[in-house]
């Protein structure tokens, strides 16, 4: 569970040799107000799209670093799995997108007063990106600017 043994041997070999991108220095933003007064966004790399959105481009070498905007009031059942990886079981997140994109759960946290507000939009990436230069240089900064514009204080990031 949750370690390399869940993958095929060739994939394990690949992951052992892969040059993971080390974040250095590690940036750090402390929370400035209690979560009960903070605005939270979800950023998932589960590759979900809404029916009217273009799928991620499976042919892009190194992985498609683009993202889709998911309105906070979207119906979880409308989220469609467009993740290209065949290295994990897609059925759980197709049965319940909240397991990788907890859009209903954050609304419940807002209703319970645990967080102050839900961001007007969440962001959906497709995380199978082996060559992340464009992600680092272009799309992650663009995503951050959007959330800053939405006055987001905190973000929950969920891989798949």
């Amino acid at each position: 569970m949750g370690d390399l043994s869940e993958f095929s041997l060739p994939l394990q070999v690949f992951l052992r040799g892969y040059p993971w991108r080390r974040i250095d220095p590690v940036p750090w933003t402390p929370i400035v107000r209690p979560l009960a007064e903070s605005r939270l966004a979800v950023v998932s790399s589960a590759g979900f799209i809404l029916p009217d959105q273009a799928p991620f481009d499976d042919r892009m070498r190194g992985g498609d670093p683009s993202f889709r905007e998911i309105p906070a009031d979207a119906d979880a059942r409308a989220l469609a799995d467009a993740h290209r990886s065949e290295s994990f079981d897609h059925r759980p997140m197709r049965d319940d997108p909240n397991v990788a994109f907890p859009i209903d759960r954050v609304r419940e946290l807002r209703a319970a007063g645990r967080i102050g507000s839900v961001a007007p939009r969440h962001l959906s990436f497709m995380g199978s990106i082996t060559a992340p230069a464009r992600l680092i240089r272009e799309t992650a900064p663009e995503a951050a600017r959007l959330l800053v514009g939405d006055r987001v204080d905190t973000a929950l990031l969920v891989p798949v």
Partner: protein
């Protein structure tokens, strides 16, 4: 790859002033990529918040993640391994590799 992708996005959000917490499914990747705040969970890829349809479990994972945001004395990178009560904690993801 998903673990790295969200870590890299988290770093950019932090650079622009948004506090983040990142779920991680492979501890050895979290140790190498170093997202600012990482909650390592013992669930397989494809179900980072564990069981589909289990709202309480999903909320428990999210709550554990939010708790990292509230650790005001913490310094980056913060890596916390978490498992639901009663579940075995797994060992670090890959034997034979340094965890540094």
């Amino acid at each position: 790859m998903c673990n790295q992708a969200v870590g890299l996005v988290a770093a950019e959000l932090e650079r622009q002033g948004i506090a983040t917490v990142t779920i991680q499914l492979l501890r050895f990747v979290a140790e190498r990529v170093r997202p600012p705040r990482a909650l390592c969970v013992p669930f397989p890829h494809g179900r980072p918040l564990d069981a589909p349809g289990d709202k309480e479990r999903q909320l428990a994972v999210i709550e554990a993640a939010l708790a990292l945001l509230e650790e005001r004395e913490a310094r980056p990178p913060l890596l916390v391994e978490w498992a639901p009560a009663g579940a075995p904690r797994r060992s670090p993801g890959m034997r034979g590799l340094s965890t540094r």
